[in-house]
Amino acid sequence: MTVPEQRRSPDPALALRGLVKQFEAKVAVAGIDLDVPAGSFFGLLGPNGAGKTTTLSMAVGLLRPDLGQARILGYDVWADPIAAKSRIGVLPDGVRLFDRLTGTELLAYQGLLRGMDPTVVDQRSVELMDVLQLGAGNRTLVVDYSAGMKKKIGLACALLHAPRLLVLDEPFEAVDPVSAALIRGILQRYVAGGGTVVFSSHVMTVVERLCSHVAIMADGRIRVRGTLDEVRGDRSLEDVFVEVVGGRTATGSELSWL
C-alpha cells in the first residue's frame, strides 16, 4: 500500500461553513463551522444522535445540506464534486456495502469505480486483503462476513485509491481488540505519511490514544474544539465529554427492582 507523500497545503483538509440540515421537524445539524488541519488526526465526538453521521455525510457529498458549504482540500464538495470526491476515502456507518460481492470483487469494484489502473487495483487489493487479514483467496461474500470484517473491508475500500483525506464514521464500532489495534496502526502510519483522518466516535479511550485534534458535538452543534490537550486540560477526556454534553449520573436509587 502506498502512503501519500508529505505535502503541506495552505488549505485545511476539510472545511465546513455554516452547515445546516433539518429532517422534517427535527434539526439534526444546526450550523456547523469546522476546520480540520491537513495532517491532523481529528476525532469528532458526541453522544448518539448528536449529528455526527449527518455532519460527515454532508461533508463527503452523501447528503445535501440545507445551508452551508463543505470544502475538501480547497474543492467545494457540492460545486465541484468530482474534484473533491476523488481526493477522499469514506467509510460510512449504517450503510450497507455491496455485500453480494466477495471481498476482492468489492475492492476491484471500488478501484475501477475510482478510475484507477486495473493492474494497480489488482496489486493493492491483494495487499489490502492480506494486511487486513481478510485472506486474499477468500471467496466468502461480504454479506457473510462478521461485523468486524465488514468494517475492515470498508476501510480497505476507503484506502484503496490512496486518498489525501479519510473520513471514517465509527471505524472502531464492533471491531475486536486485535483488529482495532491493526486498524489503529494503519491509520497512524497514514497520518505520519501526511494524510488526514477525520473519524467519529463515542469511545473516549480510542480518541485519547489516537487524536491530535478533537471536537465535541451535542444537539447538532459543536460545543468544544481544539487540540486534544486544549480540550482536555488536566482532566480526562471522558469527564470533559460528560460535562459538555450534560449527562446524567446514576444516584443508585433508580431501577431498584433490578
Binding site: 456495502l97 455491496f98 460481492l101 469505480l113
Partner: protein, 531 residues
C-alpha cells in the same frame, strides 16, 4: 394468553400511518393508488350489479364464477410478477416474542386483509351481492355475501402462502430450480383454461363455455362467487358443499403458509457457500473478459453478480423467464393470428425492461459507494442496462425464434427479433427516468416479494404504466410490419435495432442528467428504513 388479532391489525395501521407521516411524496403515491383502486372497485361493482338489475340469471351464472376465478388468479400471480406483497409485518420480527404459532398466523393473516388491494377487491365483488339480491332476494344476497367473505379470505391466504413458499424455496440453492419449474408449471395451468375459452369463443359456443363455467363454479376458484346464485335458482343443497370447499381450501392454504412462515422466522441465513479460492486477479474476478476493465465494466460486472446473487433480483428474473417461456409458447400453440405472437413478445420484452423501474431500490444504502465515487449518471445507467440485458436478451432471442419457427413462419424470425429488440430498448428508456425520479426503498425483509406498507399499489401501478407506455411506444413498428407485409421481413431487423437503440439513447440522455443532479436525494430515498 392468546393475543388478539386486533393488535396485529392496529400495528399494521400504525406502521402505515407512521410511514406516511410528513412525507408528501409517499402520501401522494398512496392517494393515487387508493384512487385508482377505488375506481377499479366502483367499475367492478357496477359491472356485476348491472347483470342483476337486468335480471340476467344465466349471464350471472357465467360471469360471476369466471370473474371470481380471474380475481383469485390475479391474487396468485400479480404479487409474484409485479406488485409484491405488503410485508410491513415481517414475520421474522416476531420471532423473539412469546407468541403461539396459531396466534401469529391468525394475526398476520388478519393484518394482511387490511390493505388497499383487499378492500378494493372486496368492494368490487360486492356488486355480486347486489345482483344476487335482485335475482334471488334477501337470502340469496346473504349467502352471496358469505361467499364473498370466503372469497377474499381465500385470495389473501393464497397470495401469502404462495409468495412465502416461493421465497423460502428461493433461499436454498437446491430447491431454487424446483421453484422455477413450479412457477412455470402453475402458470402453464392457465393454458388449458385459456385454450378452452378461446376455441369456445371462436365457435360462439356458449354451451361449451357454460359447461366449463359450471365446473369452475365447483372449484375453489369459482365456488365463493356462485353461492348466492345457487340460492336464486333453488339449488340450496349446493351451498353447504361450496362453503366446505372454500373453507377447506382456506384452511389448507393457511396450514401451508404457517409451515413456510416458521422457516422464515428461523432466519434467512443461507448457509454460506464454501467457495474455492480463485486464481484470477481481483479485477478479473469482478469483470468478465468481454467487458472493458474500467468503470463501466466494474458497474456492469457488479450488476451481473447482483442479478444472480440477490434473492429479490433473482426472483424477478425467474418470474420473468417463467412468463417469457409460457406466454409466447401458448400463443404459438393456440395458433392465433400472425400478429399475435409479435404483440405478446413486445409485451414480454417490455416486462423484462420494466424490472429496472426500481433499479436503485434493489441495493438500498449500498448505493452510497457510487455516490461517494461520483459515478457519472450516463455510465451508471448504461452499465445497469447492460447487466440486465446479459440475462434477458438470450431468452428473448430464443423465444422470438421459437415463436416464428414453430408455427412455420421461420422467415419472419429476423423481423420479429427486430421488433422485440425495439420494444426492449424503448422499455428501458421508459424505465430509466422512472427509476431515478420515482425510486422507493424496499424493506429489509427475508421475502423477495416484500413491499413496504403504503404506496405499494401505486408503485406497482407505476411499473404497470411503464409496461403499457413501452408497448404503446412500439406500436409504430407493429403497424409498419402490418402495412409493409413482405418488405418488413427484410428491413424489420435493422429498423427494429435502430428504433430500440434510438429509444435507449433518448432515455439515457433524459435520465442521466436527472441522476447527476439528484444522487444524494436518490440515496436518501432508497436507503430510508434500512438504517
Amino acid at each position: 394468553m392468546a393475543v388478539s388479532a386486533r393488535y396485529f391489525v392496529r400495528l399494521k395501521l400504525r406502521l402505515l400511518a407512521n410511514g406516511l407521516r410528513g412525507r408528501t411524496q409517499r402520501v401522494a403515491l398512496f392517494v393515487i393508488g387508493a384512487v385508482m383502486a377505488a375506481a377499479a372497485a366502483v367499475s367492478g361493482y357496477a359491472l356485476f350489479s348491472v347483470i342483476g338489475v337486468l335480471g340476467e340469471q344465466r349471464a350471472a351464472e357465467v360471469v360471476f364464477p369466471l370473474a371470481g376465478s380471474a380475481v383469485v388468479l390475479g391474487w396468485l400471480f400479480l404479487p409474484l410478477i409485479i406488485f409484491g406483497v405488503d410485508e410491513s409485518l415481517d414475520p421474522a420480527r416476531f420471532a423473539l416474542l412469546p407468541l403461539r404459532h396459531v396466534t401469529l398466523v391468525r394475526g398476520l393473516f388478519a393484518a394482511s386483509l387490511v390493505g388497499v388491494p383487499a378492500i378494493a377487491t372486496f368492494a368490487a365483488t360486492l356488486g355480486m351481492v347486489h345482483a344476487a339480491a335482485m335475482l334471488g332476494g334477501f337470502f340469496a344476497a346473504t349467502v352471496e355475501l358469505v361467499g364473498l367473505i370466503g372469497g377474499i379470505l381465500l385470495c389473501a391466504a393464497l397470495s401469502r402462502a404462495v409468495t412465502s413458499a416461493f421465497a423460502t424455496a428461493l433461499r436454498s440453492r437446491r430447491s431454487r430450480d424446483l421453484a422455477t419449474v413450479a412457477l412455470a408449471g402453475s402458470a402453464a395451468l392457465l393454458g388449458p383454461l385459456q385454450l378452452g375459452l378461446r376455441s369456445a369463443i371462436e365457435r360462439a359456443d356458449w354451451q361449451g363455455i357454460g359447461h366449463v363455467v359450471d365446473v369452475l363454479a365447483w372449484t375453489p376458484l369459482g365456488a365463493p362467487y356462485s353461492m348466492g346464485l345457487d340460492v336464486a335458482t333453488g339449488r340450496l343443497w349446493a351451498v353447504p358443499i361450496k362453503i366446505v370447499v372454500v373453507a377447506a381450501t382456506i384452511a389448507l392454504l393457511l396450514w401451508w403458509w404457517s409451515g413456510s412462515l416458521e422457516k422464515a422466522m428461523l432466519g434467512a441465513k443461507s448457509g454460506s457457500r464454501e467457495r474455492t479460492a480463485s486464481q484470477l486477479t481481483p479485477v478479473a474476478q469482478l469483470v468478465p473478459r468481454w467487458l472493458p476493465r474500467n468503470r463501466f465494466g466494474a458497474l456492469a460486472g457488479r450488476e451481473m453478480r447482483y442479478w444472480w446473487r440477490e434473492t429479490r433480483r433473482r426472483a424477478t428474473l425467474i418470474s420473468f423467464v417463467a412468463v417469457a417461456l409460457f406466454l409466447p409458447v401458448l400463443v404459438a400453440v393456440s395458433g392465433g393470428p400472425a400478429g399475435a405472437s409479435g404483440a405478446v413478445l413486445v409485451f414480454v420484452a417490455a416486462l423484462a425492461a420494466v424490472s429496472l423501474t426500481n433499479q436503485f431500490g434493489f441495493e438500498g444504502s449500498a448505493y452510497a459507494a457510487n455516490v461517494v465515487a461520483g459515478v457519472p449518471g450516463r455510465v451508471e445507467l448504461a452499465a445497469r442496462a447492460t447487466g440486465l440485458s446479459v440475462y434477458v436478451l438470450p431468452p428473448l432471442l430464443v423465444i422470438s425464434v421459437i415463436a416464428s419457427v414453430v408455427p412455420g413462419r421461420g422467415a419472419a424470425a429476423p423481423a420479429l427479433i427486430g421488433t422485440v429488440l425495439a420494444a426492449y430498448g424503448v422499455a428501458l428508456a421508459v424505465a430509466m427516468p422512472i427509476s431515478v425520479r420515482a425510486a422507493y426503498a424496499l424493506p429489509d425483509s427475508t421475502s423477495p416479494f416484500a413491499m413496504s406498507s403504503g404506496g405499494g399499489t401505486a408503485k406497482g401501478l407505476l411499473s404497470f404504466a411503464a409496461l403499457i407506455g413501452a408497448t404503446i411506444a412500439t406500436a409504430p413498428l407493429q403497424i409498419g410490419a402490418w402495412l409493409l407485409g413482405d418488405v418488413w421481413l427484410w428491413i424489420g431487423l435493422p429498423v427494429g435495432i435502430a428504433y430500440g437503440a434510438g429509444g435507449l439513447v433518448l432515455g439515457l440522455r433524459l435520465a442521466a442528467p436527472m441522476l447527476d443532479d439528484r444522487m444524494p436525494e436518490l440515496l436518501a430515498t432508497v436507503s430510508a428504513g434500512s438504517q
